[in-house]
């Protein structure tokens, strides 16, 4: 059994998630945060690609080579080609040991390959490049590398290219993140709750609607994936079955409920400012006490007693 067949013999669901992330090729963007780090998932994808027989190149800017290779067995480590941009990325030691042109130059050099073997490039990380380069330069380089196999001409001789990028979301504004996101064929946003990690996976297949799914997972020490159902309901700390919920409506000094008679009496009550036919009749009916009421008027000395009606000339 070749190593690649051995990889496919793993659990079906595990293969689904990693396979679906690597299936489309192009740019796979992993978006992580301080609380939920993404380098373990990047290493899991690198391990998967290596086991599938692809050529794997690592452009490492953020961690040392030893730290990146830690946890992989020698079989996988032998298949990884590591380009070290951690030790001296800005050439402060003036020895020109590093690849001339830095990590961007190395990325652009990948465009010029002509191998038919499928290749995976792990970029650790685009955040490092985005802080030091203009966003447009990085986007152009990533577009050129990840779309090599789709350009016309000698497309038949160039193998599939997959670029894995680990982006730290909090470091950049929405503009650059959105630009990289629009370049990505697959986007994984990491989050989680209660100690469990969650991946939101967005796949953009050509000529189809983007698909969206979520998956709870954890990464084992050997960088294989363990898929999970999510945090269990029993582990929620707020519901305790041994303490019955207290009913606040007991022992009140006032009445919260109405009896049937009281409810009927309330429903048949006429509101004071609601005009109904009964009210109209009551107003029009002459009241029994009306005949006995008089108004006594004592005019002042200054009063102008004019018997004419001032509205006579209105002609209504």
């Amino acid at each position: 059994m070749t190593p690649s067949e051995g990889a496919r013999a793993g659990t079906g669901r595990e293969l689904e998630m990693l396979d679906s992330l690597l299936a489309l090729g192009g740019l796979v963007l992993l978006r992580d945060s301080v609380e939920w780090e993404g380098r373990s998932l990047l290493k899991a994808l690198v391990k998967k690609s290596a086991l599938c027989g692809e050529q794997v190149h690592i452009l490492g800017c953020e961690v040392s080579e030893e730290e990146f290779r830690e946890g992989f067995d020698s079989d996988i480590n032998n298949r990884l080609v590591y380009h070290d941009f951690f030790r001296d990325p800005l050439n402060w030691s003036k020895t020109e040991e590093a690849f001339p042109g830095g990590p961007l130059g190395a990325l652009r050099a990948m465009c010029k390959r002509t191998d038919p073997v499928p290749v995976t490039i792990a970029l650790d990380s685009p955040s490092w490049l985005l802080l030091r380069l203009p966003c447009t330069t990085l986007c152009q380089a990533l577009h050129a590398v990840s779309h090599q196999d789709s350009c016309p001409g000698d497309s038949s001789s160039v193998g599939k290219v997959t670029v894995l990028g680990l982006l730290h979301e909090e470091l950049h504004g929405p503009g650059p993140v959105g630009a990289l996101s629009s370049l990505a064929q697959t986007e994984v946003t990491l989050g989680g709750t209660m100690g469990q990690a969650l991946a939101h996976i967005l796949c953009r297949r050509p000529r189809q609607r983007p698909t969206d799914q979520t998956q709870w997972f954890s990464i084992l020490p050997d960088f294989s994936l363990d898929l999970q159902e999510g945090p269990s309901v029993e582990s929620q700390p707020y519901s305790d079955p041994h303490i019955p919920p207290v009913d606040p409506t007991t022992h009140l000094t006032f009445n919260l409920h109405l009896s049937k008679k009281e409810r009927e009496a309330r429903d048949s009550l006429i509101l004071p400012f609601q005009f109904s036919s009964e009210k109209q009749q009551a107003l029009l009916r002459p009241r029994p006490g009306q005949a006995t009421s008089h108004i006594f008027y004592e005019p002042d000395a200054y009063d102008d007693l004019d018997q004419e009606d001032p509205d006579d000339d209105l002609d209504i």
């Binding site: 609380e35 373990s40 800005l90």
Partner: protein, 266 residues
Amino acid sequence: MFVELNNLLNTTPDRAEQGKLTLLCDAKTDGSFLVHHFLSFYLKANCKVCFVALIQSFSHYSIVGQKLGVSLTMARERGQLVFLEGLKSAVDVVFQAQKEPHPLQFLREANAGNLKPLFEFVREALKPIDSGEARWTYPVLLVDDLSVLLSLGMGAVAVLDFIHYCRATVCWELKGNMVVLVHDSGDAEDEENDILLNGLSHQSHLILRAEGLATGFCRDVHGQLRILWRRPSQPTVHRDQSFTYQYKIQDKSVSFFAKGMSPAVL
């Protein structure tokens, strides 16, 4: 060093991990007690310490160090401690003619691009001496604090580059440790400080965050401390664990307790 903090971090001077970057940050409170803790911790662990102190004078750290049981003066005399007193050397940069680049050279230059002279000072201070006899266990770099570099005109990316090179040299090449302090102003407008804080958070193995209480000042609880393990080395420790404790700073120690369990309240 504070023994209770060692217990919380599950470490002692003779069995501390190497090659780690610890980020200290404080929000709405003063986190300098953590700097004093790590300074005395690593001096007691017999490490070669390079302290880039940009905020306070040597005598300030020395007085606090004496309360915690270390003598900075003696450590400096026997070569264990290399102390860059930012407040004094800043004056030297401006008023004295320097032949070689001074670590704080960027203060003279109008368009200082990077902190390479400061990095070279650190590398020179911590490089192992070829005398054949290893006097010190491993090198340690302490910086108090990085936010002041932003105030002095350096960009966030320049400070991140400086820390990157220090990490490559101190943590990876020399297998030493680094402890840096950054203030979190909480100000949504300070983008440079946010980039620096988040960029360092992603590179750190351990983040200790001292926060003031949300309800304001209290006499018996001075703040709360959040401990976030980002990249634990043992696979059995669950990744990305976070703990929160409240603390009270006393004259010679700091006591830690779970939230709401202050002795004054119980």
